[in-house]
């Protein structure tokens, strides 16, 4: 099993969800985050003072998938989150050793 952690534009969350559901991947967790990267910060101004906002709103999506579905999931996410502009975000894959479904106590890939 692998965990995909994707930092994406918040407005893309719905599209990613839809794409994953199409692959029968029903399960993900989303967290509001702020990302710093190559994307240029925006300049806001309040009264006389300028603020360069370097940390931009990102959605941090975590999905644990069976290794077999990893590539398909990555492809689906990458496509759904893509705009081509700087700031589309990154996607990381990390190993997962075990999974437990709290409701039933079952563990293993079948719980995903």
């Amino acid at each position: 099993m692998k965990m995909i952690t994707a930092m994406v534009r918040p407005s893309k969350v719905d599209a990613i969800k839809t794409a994953l559901v199409a692959l029968d991947i029903i399960g993900m967790t989303v967290t509001d985050s702020r990302g710093f990267g190559r994307q240029k910060g925006q300049v806001e101004r309040y009264r006389g003072t300028e603020f360069t906002v370097e940390f931009l709103p990102k959605a941090r999506i975590e999905i644990v998938v069976p290794s077999a579905k990893l590539d398909a999931a990555i492809a689906a996410i990458t496509e759904a989150a893509h705009t081509g502009e700087i700031g589309d975000g990154k996607l990381f894959v990390t190993p997962v050793e075990s999974v437990i479904r709290i409701r039933t106590g079952e563990s293993g890939e079948s719980t995903l």
Partner: protein, 469 residues
């Protein structure tokens, strides 16, 4: 879907040469015939010195109505996405600047001056409030109105501000702020001031004119006008890109309740001070709140029976519907009638809001569904329910005569005409303004900007700092 087809046809229709010509013709005919029909009803009221208490009613009323605009900003702002809340609020708040200035410079004159001698539009003699209120600002408004003329000009200005602000509800989260600026400026001059003239300023729709309709505090001038303009503008400008597939719930419902509370509070000034006299203001104060109460209750009970749960948004919405419904009637009906108006307006607006949701028309915050529909229901019910005793011939000569001669049915007809004229005038006028404006500048932001959020795009700001430390 359903609506998109309608919208397509409408847009095509709007570009149809023939149709446009017909529209202009109708407008011209109206403008020409009106004066011919204009009655010569004259009131014979005595000129009394300015009364302190009555003037104070107007001044306090003005303060209350001023507060309605920030109230509206919260009532509306609570519904939007966090990334659009400031833009939404600015669409109201900014008008306290723009229309506040416009009104005293020329808007008041176009509405309440009599220079042009026209039943449609005022004149230019009171620009910059020239001659209003005398040296000390304490001259009475007119015979029968022992309030200072300055307090009247101020009070009316607050109405001029909130009317276009109401329109914004239909247009949030997509309109270019520049286009909004120009739209409000032009609309206020070409639609609002004439409406005020026609209905309140001795023009041809009102009780001194040829139609003899009554509008206590703005059923036609404020609510139908803003509602119809909202409908037309939303149709022309089109829905948000997120509508109806990616719509989101309100970002802050307490703000909606705060806004509704401030609006209700301010509405005491809106309706109550429209009596212009404190001794007799008991009824409009009372009917205002009883209609709102009845409507709040009605809305929630309908939800409770239909969906199983009364909602907070519904309570706020119902109250506003009731306040809209009673506006044209507030000083013309007794308490019992106000309950009826509240109940009926709430029920009809409830249906309107559901219909809107069903046909998926993006009147985003239901400006037409509440103010257009509610104002219409109120204006018509005013005809049916007004009491003769509360429509004195001194102040409403033609309307009183109609009531005398043909009873409430007669007044209902007059009200009906007033409503139709308002719909026609405002719809046409708004469409024309938007056509012209649309040719000069984009009316809405790009889809990318919409996604980015209008707070940053239009104002370079964010409402909330996501960094909490």
């Amino acid at each position: 879907m359903t609506f998109d087809r309608l919208r397509g046809r409408f847009l095509v229709g709007l570009q149809d040469q023939r149709l446009r010509r017909i529209a202009f013709f109708l407008l011209a005919v109206g403008a020409g015939i009106g004066p011919l029909l204009a009655g010569s009803a004259k009131a014979a009221l005595a000129m009394a010195p300015t009364d302190g208490a009555d003037t104070l009613l107007m001044l306090v009323g003005s303060a209350l109505v001023l507060l309605m605009t920030p109230g509206l900003a919260f009532f509306y702002g609570g519904f939007t996405r966090p990334k659009n809340v400031l833009n939404c609020m600015m669409m109201s708040f900014f008008l306290m600047g723009l229309i506040g200035v416009l009104w005293v410079v020329i808007g008041y004159s176009l509405a309440f001056d009599v220079g042009f001698g026209s039943p449609f539009i005022g004149g230019l003699g009171s620009m910059f409030l020239h001659g209003v209120g005398g040296e000390l600002g304490d001259q009475p408004l007119a015979a029968g109105f022992p309030i200072s003329a300055t307090s009247f000009a101020l009070f009316q200005g607050m109405f001029a501000i909130i009317t276009p602000a109401l329109i914004s509800g239909a247009l949030v989260e997509r309109v270019s702020f520049k286009a909004w600026f120009w739209f409000c400026l032009i609309w206020s001059l070409l639609i609002y001031s004439p409406m005020a003239k026609m209905v309140w300023g001795g023009g041809f729709i009102g009780p001194f004119g040829s139609i003899g309709a009554v509008d206590f505090a703005g059923g036609t001038v404020v609510h139908i006008a803003s509602g119809v303009a909202a409908l037309v503008a939303a149709a022309i400008i089109g829905p948000r890109t997120t509508w109806p597939n990616n719509k989101r719930p309100p970002h802050n419902v307490p703000f909606i309740l705060l806004g509704a509370g401030l609006l209700w509070f301010g509405w005491f000034g809106f309706n109550g001070a429209s009596m212009f006299a404190s001794k007799t203001a008991g009824y409009p104060f009372l009917t205002t709140t009883t209609s709102a109460s009845a409507a709040l209750l009605t809305w929630c009970l309908i939800e409770w029976f239909k969906d199983g749960k009364p909602t907070a948004v519904g309570a706020a919405t119902g109250a506003i519907a009731g306040l809209v419904g009673i506006t044209p009637a507030a000083g013309f009906v007794y308490m019992e009638q106000s309950l009826l108006i509240g109940i009926i307006t709430a029920a009809v607006c409830f249906i309107a809001v559901r219909v809107k949701a069903a046909i998926q028309f993006d009147d985003s915050l239901d400006t037409f569904m509440l103010h257009g529909v509610g104002g219409t229901v109120g204006a018509l019910l005013t005809g049916i329910l007004a009491s003769k005793a509360l429509v004195p011939a001194d102040y409403f000569p033609l309307s009183a005569k109609i009531l005398e001669e043909s009873g409430n049915f007669g007044l209902f007809i007059a009200q009906f005409k007033a409503v139709i004229l308002t719909y026609g005038f405002v719809a046409l006028g708004t469409a024309i303004i938007l056509w012209i404006l649309g040719a000069l500048m984009p009316l809405r932001v790009s889809p990318e900007e919409e996604e980015r959020g209008l707070d940053f795009v239009a104002h370079g700001e964010e409402a909330y700092d996501p960094m909490t430390n």
